[in-house]
């Protein structure tokens, strides 16, 4: 059959569209964070603050690592290196797992005060979405690693998912870790 592979398979198009909507849900939370800050007296209020700066930095590092490994897996798939792809998938799963734990701790750190003020609630929400995205990244990478799958489309889905994670994490980090502190 006179047909060749496309740069972006249909599954990637689906992910792109789904990713737009997921990012838009998260974007609505980010909008909420800033909208509420404009009406509030102090944001964050006295005695409350963003989650640990160290965890924030570590998470940012893991995002870069995971996204890098996913991109590597994608390239290795094209090269047909099964062992390399599997290692990259396993690495991405580990990075995602560690980041999921860190962001879950971020959520947990905000919960005790969340009923008193909107700030910790919104911060927990923003991190909750990212934590769920990390969790999903683990599941995707794990399934690919276990099933020993090296199709280009599948690796593209994983790489795309990590791109989405970056899109979710960057505004979260900027709003919570940077903007909250310069207030």
């Amino acid at each position: 059959m006179p047909v060749g592979p496309t740069r972006l398979a249909a599954s990637s198009w689906g992910l792109l569209m789904g990713g737009v909507s997921i990012a838009a849900v998260h974007g609505s939370f980010v909008f909420g964070f800033f909208f509420l800050s404009t009406g509030a007296g102090a944001w964050p209020p006295e005695g409350m603050g963003p989650p640990s700066a160290l965890r924030g930095l570590a998470t940012t590092g893991l995002v870069v690592l995971g996204a890098g490994l996913a991109a590597l897996a994608w390239r290795l798939t094209a090269a047909g290196s099964l062992a390399g792809v599997r290692s990259a998938h396993v690495g991405a799963a580990l990075a995602g797992g560690a980041a999921a734990v860190l962001t879950s701790l971020d959520v947990a750190s905000q919960i005790p005060e969340a009923v008193e003020h909107a700030y910790p609630g919104t911060v927990a929400l923003l991190h909750g979405v990212v934590a769920a995205a990390f969790g999903a990244a683990v599941v995707i990478a794990a399934v690919l690693a276990v099933t020993r799958r090296v199709r280009r489309e599948d690796s593209a889905v994983l790489a795309g998912w990590w791109l989405l994670i970056a899109v979710l994490w960057l505004p979260t980090y900027a709003a919570v870790q940077i903007w909250s502190r310069v207030q």
Partner: protein, 634 residues
């Protein structure tokens, strides 16, 4: 013209075996074919429309005379809330997406949607969300915060019972289902059009579904986010909207209308797509100014995102912003006008057959223009302050929603009925149903404009005699009765025609788009030989000369190239050149099981059964893995 050679009987049999759903109840539960799923959306949405209609009937019965006692104040709040909610969330959008799911693949020469299992999942999620909302009637805790559910009224303090939880969780599921459907439709349109169907040759209905899909992907997330926040506030006391904890109820209003205003156009744009299809077919000529209509639809889609604040003119918005939003609200009249002039010019210069779908379209144009005029009136902030929350607004949005959306939907149901059933619906009863509905609609809703001027507020369960409102209310309620009769006649007509109508053949209306090249009803695989398009009106234009490569591909795909392979052509986005052959997933029970797990998780949250919710949540993960996990290393 298309190249749709017939293929051999053997090839058809093999294709049918490959693309058919399994037989029996298992087959029904595991089905993923776009026609089955699309039709399920259409039928279920029609059913919900009837429920919403019964609630509308109750409202009008209560308002027929002053101090009537059909509904008390609480029940009235519940009934108008559920009426609005059902019509907006359970009827209009799913109905239009369902039509898109059924017809878009046929219109663009594809065999199915790109993610068939996801599509089935979307339907089951829609059903689950709908059932959660309906369940509220059984429990007696019916949502009563209006279709836009403003906090703080809907927060834990003022709406302590479960009613609003049904609303928030049900609506969230419905919106996720809407996104899933939109994703399918956008990808199929961009990537799976028949070779040669460039963007500029795409039917207007397909354009309208593409734009609707894009809008859904961007607009629905806002209400999902808003609803999640409100549900968290209600369940756990996090004060997102509660000013005592530095929350702000205006956040809901912004997020809701970022969704809510485009929502109106999410319904209107595909409805006008139907209108363009019907006008073209029954005027028997190509639509006048096709490029302008595409530009107008696109402009409406973009502008509609800039309009949300006009629902909030009365909350105290800075003057400059007010002026800008007023102008943007009025601007949208221009592209809407372009469409209306295109239809009128097509009708004027064509040889019109006034069959039933065309009558519904004519009725639509009249009512839509009236609704548009009152729309421009309320887009002016000072006028809006006068009629805000009065029956003038109720009249305006029913002119837009019923006239602008329901009439085209009825046109579509009549127009495409032969494709579904293989039989042409009766004309006499069809025309009668239109006239009864048209008269009934206007008698029901025109007087409400005057009620608004006379100061009758919306959402108030009764009124005193002597305010000068009796006559208009009586007329409005009687008109509703006539309208209902018209809908019943329409339904009887279709029910009778399904078994006794004239045999349709592939193209009973001599229409121009590809769905009419397939048999009626279409086989599971839609087309034996995949169509190739050389003109904007493929069935009206002379045949295309196929190049070698295209001929080789379409010939090869007259049968699966591997046993059981569901193959579909992928083409380039702009000029629809063949790029590859993709393989689609087949029937599976996992979409249903996963959607069921989501529904159970929601029920768990609803009734505070947290263990159940967590277990069902885990079930969702298991379901997704089982559904998506690749079966074999490739």
């Amino acid at each position: 013209m298309t190249a749709t050679a017939t293929g051999t009987a053997v090839e058809h049999a093999v294709l049918d075996r490959t693309w058919s759903s399994r037989p029996g109840i298992v087959g029904w539960l595991t089905a993923v074919n776009h026609k089955q799923i699309g039709l399920r959306f259409v039928v279920t949405a029609f059913g919900f429309m009837l429920v919403g209609g019964v609630l509308a009937g109750l409202i009008r019965l209560q308002l027929i005379v002053p101090r009537a006692e059909v509904l008390g104040p609480e029940a009235y709040n519940q009934v108008f809330t559920m009426h609005g909610t059902i019509m907006m969330f359970l009827f209009a959008v799913p109905m239009l997406e369902g039509l898109g799911m059924y017809f878009v693949p046929l219109m663009i020469g594809a065999r199915d949607l790109p993610f068939p299992r996801l599509n089935a999942f979307g339907y089951w999620l829609y059903l689950g969300g709908g059932l959660i909302l309906m369940w509220s009637f059984v429990t007696g805790s019916v949502p009563d915060g209006g279709w836009f559910a403003y906090p703080t009224l809907t927060g834990p303090e003022f709406s302590p019972d479960r009613g609003l939880d049904f609303w928030l969780l049900g609506v969230t599921m419905l919106e996720v289902s809407g996104i899933v459907g939109a994703l399918e439709l956008v990808v199929v349109i961009l990537r799976h059009r028949a070779p040669g169907m460039t963007l500029s040759r795409m039917p207007i209905f397909v354009w309208s579904i593409l734009l609707q899909g894009g809008m859904i992907l961007l607009a629905f997330p806002a209400i999902i986010a808003a609803s999640l926040m409100l549900e968290i506030e209600r369940k756990f006391g996090v004060p997102f909207y509660d000013p005592t904890g530095e929350g702000n109820p205006l956040l809901w209003q912004h997020l809701f209308w970022i969704f809510g205003h485009p929502e109106v156009y999410i319904m209107l744009i595909p409805a006008t797509g139907v209108v363009s299809a019907v006008v073209q077919t029954f005027a028997r000529r190509p639509l006048v100014a096709y490029p302008l209509v595409v530009a107008a639809l696109t402009a409406i889609a973009i502008l509609s995102f800039g309009l949300w604040v006009h629902h909030m003119f009365a909350v105290g918005i800075p003057m400059l912003a007010l002026a800008l939003f007023s102008v943007a609200s009025m601007l949208i009249a221009i592209p809407s006008g372009v469409q209306v002039f295109s239809w009128l010019a097509t009708i004027w210069t064509g040889r019109v057959r006034w069959s039933t779908p065309m009558l519904f379209v004519a009725g639509f144009i009249v009512i839509f223009v009236a609704g548009g005029i009152t729309g421009v009136m309320v887009a002016s902030a000072p006028f809006d302050w006068q009629v805000h929350d009065s029956f003038f607004v109720v009249a305006h949005f029913h002119y837009v929603l019923f006239g602008g959306v329901v009439f085209p939907i009825f046109a579509a149901l009549h127009y495409w009925f032969p494709k579904w059933t293989g039989r042409v619906p009766g004309e006499a009863l069809g025309k009668a149903s239109f006239w009864i509905m048209f008269v009934g609609f206007n008698v029901a809703f025109f007087p409400q404009h005057f009620l608004g001027f006379l100061g009758m507020p919306r959402r108030v369960y009764t009124y005193d005699p002597g305010l000068g409102w009796e006559g208009h209310n009586l007329a409005s309620s009687l008109g509703t009765g006539v309208l209902t009769l018209g809908i019943l006649v329409f339904m009887v007509n279709l029910a009778v025609s399904a078994s006794r109508g004239r045999i349709a053949g592939p193209n009973p209306w001599s229409a121009d788009t590809l769905e009419w090249a397939a048999a009626s009803p279409p086989p599971s695989y839609n087309f034996g030989e995949l169509p190739v398009v050389g003109a904007r009106e493929p069935l009206w234009a002379p045949g295309v000369d196929l190049d070698e490569r295209t001929r080789a591909v379409t010939t090869a795909l007259r049968a699966p190239t591997a046993p059981g392979a569901r193959e579909q052509l992928a083409t380039t986005v702009v000029d629809a050149q063949i790029v590859e052959v993709t393989r689609l997933a087949g029937p599976s029970i996992w979409p249903l099981l996963t959607a069921a797990a989501v529904t159970v998780a929601m029920v768990g949250v609803l009734v505070d059964a947290w263990t159940l919710a967590v277990l069902a949540g885990l079930g969702v993960v298991v379901g997704l893995v089982a559904w998506l996990a690749p079966r074999s290393p490739a």
